[in-house]
């Protein structure tokens, strides 16, 4: 008799038949009917229509039937909340049943019904069950609190269930304790960070947990160990005693218990002071880790990822166990690669011959990815273990003899790394490398080869010929090869200037004139300027000593490593990223800025690749150079250009790094240039006075803009006002078809060119647009005069928003007035129009030049003194000329160092006075 019969359908409406059966008098028939319903439910059929009939079967003393009905309820209560209320009474009654199994079943099921109204009814029975005499009921109730919290956190707080849970931590039954811990941890994870820590580990509590640890079941042990890992012991003695009590868990049959125990022990090992205790402890860790590798491939993979971390932090633990990481031909590829990585990390002079013999075997396998990684591993060994570098090289050369293309390519790439580590030590193999030149067809290997030739140009006899040959195919190469070719030829030129003059000119003109690649062009220009201004300096820069790479290059950064070690056995230990970097809704727990930085580096690939060391284009300190190159963007860009920036990048820089410690940002440093050449280069856009621009404000929120967020501000560029917009797409679909219009306004402003984006705005992307404005549109007075109404259209909808344009953006540049005409104009504007203001600041130094940046020009300046005024008081007479032709005159009096500043504004249009004052204030307070 099997359940498959429940799936057979009859032609007459199935639901109808089930309904009839459910309402049958016979118990047996009822049960069969409920089973059929459950069977349909498990395969995803919708049987919610039977809800009332199934709930009717709930009142029964047949436990199996009750369980089945409960299973049904859990699935469908949410879709039928009103009906589900019908079931509440039975639950409440069952919670008082004499049989603890039924009490526990009721409280368990009640928690699974995700209907807020039922949750309220559940509170009383739950409270009772938390104090039940039977531990089985108590432990079930503890879990129910977590379920309830998931549904309605406020309810749990109001009802004080958290305190009841904390009481359960002292329960006499270890299973109750472990479930309470599990529930509290789950609640804490979903809670806001600002509340006090939910589970405060005190020495007394830790003691209780350790006692419970010995007696509860394996799953409970995992919860307890994971919780203990967060404890911060007071001193070395306490750490040691915890270690002693946890270490028996290492011999547990359940690998998850073992790994959680390893996590606790590794965490506490940092606190041990006595070197001997530490070593005994670490010795204990090796066997269980090795044992984990004997399990199913899935478990092996998880274990290997964790071991990879442990090996980086404490290599001594597994130093003797190299053999267990030897790859088997039928291991799954993800296990193979992980083993390979660990082998390299464990390599030491003592075991290097074993390792190399193995790697040689692996390089003869058939799996291309694996073979490549094996060849790469040989190179990493050479860099890590200096004594064996020579053997590694000869092994690599041997492998190159095989003429298998991908082996050859990979070998060249790693040999480049070896050259970087041991410069000018293995020149003898240069000729062999050059012989294989023909067979290199991947960009990375070609680029590596060019780098090697460039670095050793004086030792390679036919370097000029080789590079000339490469240059002929310049346009067909990938950008990375072109870049390397450029650098290599420049290096060659610096070493052998006589014969390569034409070559270098050729490559420079190819790079700067014929290339669309901005990187290549920039690098070309830099070389060109360097070479033409000061060849000696060029030599210093281009042929400077390179920082020597070491094995640490492929290690995780220390603080990240430490935080990952504390996460051993969790998902983050598999991804080698802190939890907040990949989990939804997990907050960064006081991460140090350094850790955050490591994370940025780790996002692209989780196993950092040594074979592609970032080589600075010019050997000046890369950070400062980069900082300056980026600063170029500050120069006014031509109208209507768009700069595409990934939105995510902005966030990362803005929040993570700055939040952690602003001092870690690469500070803009002076350019380390030997001559003035570079400075000149970087000053390309200089000349224009940057107008005062207020930071961008959000004009249209993503909510109102159906995913489009508009931020903006106004500036003055090249003599006309300009609207600077950042458009970002927070929606899921690309946005396109943008257009922008301004409503009639007081100054008749209108955009001079249409709003155009270079490409559709992709989700998550942000584009910057500058839109020059000009007068000439329809004039209509607005209130205030500077208000602008904007309509922006895209493929989704048309959106409207308002903003105000600061007056100083509308001032014309050449509004100079000599003192005499100023006086005439001043008196012409009668004193009635005069408006007085007071500013609670002292007159800043260089007030006049500050005002001038905003288009407000000094007409005359007087020092008050003697009998008339206050000594030391300065009087500035300034004027500005609005785009619409209106003059605004003002007299500013103030004293350096002593507030206030008095301001008198006269103008034809009285409404402008407060706006003008506001602009003047902005200008004076700027910087």
């Amino acid at each position: 008799m099997t359940d498959s019969k429940y799936f057979t359908t009859t032609k007459k409406g199935e639901i109808f038949e089930l309904k009839a059966e459910l309402n049958s008098e016979k118990k047996e028939k009822k049960k069969e009917a409920v089973k059929k319903v459950i069977a349909s439910m498990t395969v995803g059929k919708d049987v919610s229509a039977l809800f009332p009939d199934v709930v009717n079967c709930m009142q029964t003393d047949n436990l199996e039937l009750k369980k089945l009905v409960y299973l049904y309820l859990m699935n469908y209560a949410k879709s039928q909340p009103d009906m589900a209320i019908m079931a509440v009474n039975t639950f409440v009654k069952d919670c008082e049943d004499s049989n603890p199994l039924i009490r526990a079943l009721a409280v368990r099921t009640m928690g699974c019904i995700r209907v807020a109204r039922i949750a309220e009814y559940a509170c009383e029975p739950l409270r009772r069950c938390l104090r039940d005499e039977d531990p089985y009921v108590r432990k079930t109730a503890a879990v129910c609190v977590a379920k309830l919290h998931d549904l309605s956190p406020s309810l749990v707080l109001e009802q004080g269930f958290l305190d009841s849970l904390k009481e359960l931590l002292s329960d006499s039954n270890p299973m109750v304790v472990s479930n309470a811990v599990a529930a509290l941890c789950e609640i804490a994870e979903s809670c806001e960070s600002d509340s006090e820590p939910l589970l405060e580990l005190t020495p007394a509590l830790v003691n209780k947990l350790l006692t419970a640890l010995n007696e509860c079941n394996e799953w409970g042990q995992i919860f307890l160990l994971d919780c203990l890992a967060n404890y911060n012991p007071a001193d070395a003695r306490e750490a040691q005693s915890v270690c002693e009590r946890v270490s028996p868990r290492l011999a547990h049959a359940n690998p998850a218990v073992v790994l959680s125990a390893v996590k606790v022990l590794l965490g506490f090992a940092n606190r041990l002071e006595d070197q001997e205790t530490l070593e005994t402890l670490l010795k204990k860790l090796a066997p269980p880790l090795v044992t984990l590798l004997a399990s199913e491939p899935e478990l092996q993979y998880v274990a290997l990822r964790n071991i990879n971390l442990i090996v980086q932090r404490r290599p001594s633990i597994l130093r003797q166990e190299m053999r267990v990481f030897f790859v088997r031909y039928n291991d799954p590829i993800y296990v193979k690669l992980e083993k390979l990585d660990i082998m390299v990390r464990l390599a030491s002079p003592a075991n290097i011959s074993q390792v190399l013999a193995e790697l040689r075997e692996y390089a003869a396998e058939v799996d291309v990815d694996f073979v490549r990684k094996a060849v790469c591993a040989i190179g990493r060994c050479a860099i890590k273990v200096e004594q064996c570098a020579e053997r590694c090289i000869s092994l690599l050369l041997d492998l190159m003899q095989s003429k298998v293309s991908y082996v050859l390519q990979e070998a060249v790439v790693v040999i480049k790394d070896i050259f970087r580590k041991y410069p000018s030590k293995y020149e003898s193999i240069l000729s062999v490398l050059c012989d294989s030149l023909e067979s290199l067809d991947e960009p990375e290997s070609r680029a590596s080869m060019l780098w090697i030739i460039g670095e050793n140009a004086e030792r390679v006899e036919n370097a000029t010929e080789i590079l000339t040959a490469f240059l002929e195919g310049f346009h067909d190469e990938m950008p990375q090869v072109q870049l390397q070719l450029l650098s290599a030829i420049v290096k060659l030129f610096l070493k052998k200037p006589a014969e390569t003059q034409t070559l270098v000119q050729q490559v420079l003109s190819l790079a700067t004139q014929d290339s669309d690649n901005p990187d290549l062009r920039d690098r070309g220009y830099i070389y060109w300027r360097l070479l033409s201004t000061d060849p000696a300096a060029a030599r210093d820069v281009v042929l400077a000593e390179k920082p020597i790479i070491s094995e640490e290059c492929d290690m995780l950064e220390r603080s990240l490593l430490d935080s990952l070690i504390s996460q051993i056995s969790t998902l983050s230990s598999i991804y080698h990223k802190p939890p907040h970097a990949f989990l939804e809704g997990v907050r960064a727990p006081g991460v140090t800025a350094a850790a955050a930085r490591g994370e940025i580096g780790g996002i692209g690939s989780d196993t950092p690749q040594l074979s592609t060391p970032a080589e600075p284009p010019v050997a000046a300190p890369p950070a400062s150079l980069l900082g300056d190159l980026l600063n170029l963007d500050v120069c006014p860009t031509p109208a209507s250009t768009t700069i595409v920036q990934p939105l995510g990048m902005l966030n990362l820089m803005g929040t993570d790094l700055l939040g952690g410690g602003p001092n870690l940002l690469p500070a803009p440093q002076p350019i380390p240039v030997p001559s003035g050449a570079l400075a000149d280069l970087f000053d390309l856009g200089g000349g224009a006075i940057p107008a005062i621009t207020s930071p961008k404000m959000v004009w249209l929120t993503a909510l109102k803009g159906k995913g489009l967020e508009v931020k903006g501000t106004f500036s003055r560029r090249q003599g006309s006002p300009c609207m600077e917009l950042s458009l970002s797409n927070h929606a899921m679909a690309p946005l396109a078809g943008f257009a922008l219009q301004l409503n009639h306004n007081s100054f008749g402003l209108a955009p001079t060119c249409p709003l155009s984006l270079s490409a559709p705005l992709l989700p998550g992307q942000c584009q910057e647009v500058n839109l020059p404005l000009a007068t000439g549109g329809m004039v209509m007075q607005t209130e205030p005069l500077t208000a602008l109404q904007v309509a922006i259209k895209n493929n989704i909808d048309v959106f409207y928003f308002g903003c105000t344009i600061p007056l100083h953006v509308l001032f014309i540049e050449d509004a100079k007035m000599d003192p005499i005409s100023f006086n005439a104009a001043w008196t012409e504007l009668s004193a009635e129009t005069e408006v007085h203001y007071q500013l609670q600041i002292s007159l800043p130094d260089g007030a006049a030049s500050k005002l001038a940046t905003g288009g407000v020009f000094l007409s005359s300046k007087q020092q008050e003194g003697g009998a008339v005024g206050v000594p030391g008081m300065e009087v500035l007479r300034v004027c500005s000329h609005l785009i619409s032709g209106v003059w605004i005159l003002a007299e500013i009096r103030g004293q350096p160092g002593i507030p206030p500043v008095m301001m008198v504004v006269r103008t034809h249009v009285p409404k402008l006075a407060p706006l003008a004052f506001h602009s003047y204030e902005t200008l004076l307070c700027s910087y």
Binding site: F7, T42, D134, N217, S260, E298, L299
Partner: protein, 447 residues
């Protein structure tokens, strides 16, 4: 913790889903299937890549790929909102969805426990059986996990809560109207020996232990062991009445420095006295597993002689000669010896004559198998003959690795020996016995 569990059959259809929190769409499994199919195509590509040096027999690449793809899906997959942790048993894939930070080992281990439980209840894990017993499966899952926290995974406790299906019971139930569901709280659930139920009675009290050692080794071309280790387990079948307290002592307990115990073993006594003291679960269970890593303790019980030349494609034939001989077996017999050797795709045919047993080359997957059987030390078996490569192909660039399977009864390779078993707490005298057997685990020979 575990959010939802999906069971998938070999075709990738979800045939059962269970949600412990709010229901998730089963379309989540598409990520798993996608990973599986991409792993499949990847391994297919590799196999084809291997083959395209010679003339490919398309079908061969495919069948190999199927075998490989099953284990190529990484056990943890990230999807936009959830993580999928998966394990496979038989042709059924168990896919668990989790949302928060969890220990993946915990989830994988739990999935294996679920599969073990199915095995225990239904005798096999297959979609047909599970579909047949779908309601029971659903009830079991509900008992095993609550809100994603494991609730009861010990088979003893589960048996008391939900009785396994038997023909007799279903007949009895039909007649009497009783149910498959236990009505009372299982006794062992909260005691400090949760693995044992109370009130067990047997007329014959017996306790048997199997010491099983698997040799894992990589032997290089010269015949020396590159890596060799022993994975040992002691499986027990204990049918004793009441609450027996057993003590197992070893002649050489020092061998066991890397052990994992069943929760019933008292660690303190092991630590202090090096004896295994425990109250056993009822029935069969794994008492202990151990690992002997130090190479000098591992005596390889078989030696392989080999010579292989490929010949030229379409021209001269290559030669293969293999010889097996026992060694270090302390007079015990090597049984159930068999060898498999995945040949490169370029190999077209082989004509091989074994001195005993049968040898064949699968024309599609190109796997050479040789079923040897028992080895007579006086007449060591050998296999010799010729192989030919398909015309027009390149000669293979590496030699294959062969894997061996064998068993040696009545021998524990490590030399582990049980000296005595004592029973306390009960009056009767049980039958007891210890059996030793050594087997090949992953035993690879590079040639």
């Amino acid at each position: 913790m575990i959010h939802s569990l999906f069971l998938l059959d070999a075709a990738g259809d979800v045939f059962l889903e269970k949600h412990w929190k709010s229901p998730l769409s089963r379309s989540l499994c598409d990520y798993y299937l996608e990973a599986k199919s991409s792993a499949f195509s990847q391994s297919g590509r590799d196999a084809a890549g291997k083959g395209d040096q010679g003339t490919t027999t398309g079908g061969g690449a495919d069948t190999q790929a199927v075998g490989a793809a099953q284990r190529l899906v990484p056990p943890v997959l990230a999807t936009p909102h959830h993580f999928l942790v998966s394990a496979e048993r038989g042709r059924v894939a168990l896919v668990a969805a989790v949302r928060e930070e969890v220990s993946p080992l915990f989830v994988i281990e739990f999935l294996h426990r679920v599969a073990d439980t199915f095995q225990d209840y239904f005798g096999e894990v297959s979609d047909t059986v599970l579909k047949d017993q779908v309601v029971l499966v659903y009830e079991l899952l509900e008992e095993m996990l609550d809100n994603g926290f494991p609730l009861a995974t010990e088979s003893n406790i589960l048996h008391e809560l939900i009785r396994p299906p038997t023909v007799l019971r279903s007949v009895v139930n039909a007649v009497t109207g009783s149910t498959n569901v236990g009505e009372t709280l299982p006794s062992g659930q909260l005691s400090n020996v949760p693995w044992r139920r109370a009130g067990v009675r047997y007329s014959n009290n017996e306790a048997y232990f199997d010491v099983i050692e698997e040799i894992e080794a990589i032997i290089d071309t010269t015949g020396s062991a590159v890596a060799a280790e022993i994975q040992g387990v002691i499986d027990a079948c204990v049918k004793l009445s009441g609450m027996p307290d057993l003590t197992l002592s070893f002649l050489n307990p020092r061998l066991l420095d890397d052990v994992s115990f069943h929760p019933c073993v008292r660690y303190k006594r092991w630590d202090a006295e090096r004896v295994l003291s425990f109250v056993p679960p009822d029935g069969t269970f794994r008492l202990l597993s151990y690992h002997v890593g130090s190479q000098n303790l591992v005596a390889i019980p078989i030696s392989v002689r080999h010579s292989l030349t490929w010949g030229t494609p379409g021209g001269a034939q290559g030669k293969l000669e293999l010889g097996l001989a026992p060694r270090h077996t302390l007079g015990k017999v090597l049984e159930a010896v068999s060898m498999t050797m995945p040949m490169p795709q370029q190999v077209s045919t082989a004509s091989l004559t074994p001195s005993q047993g049968t040898a064949s080359l699968d024309p599609v997957s190109k796997v050479l198998t040789w079923e040897v059987g028992k080895i007579n030390p006086q007449k060591p078996p050998s296999l010799r003959g010729s192989i030919s490569l398909s015309p027009g192909s390149l000669p293979p660039d590496g030699n294959p690795t062969l894997s061996l399977a064998f068993r040696v009864p009545q021998l524990a390779i490590s030399g582990l020996k049980v000296t005595r078993l004592d029973l306390y707490g009960e009056k009767y005298k049980p039958f007891k016995g210890v059996k030793y057997v050594s087997k090949a685990g992953r035993f690879h020979v590079r040639i």
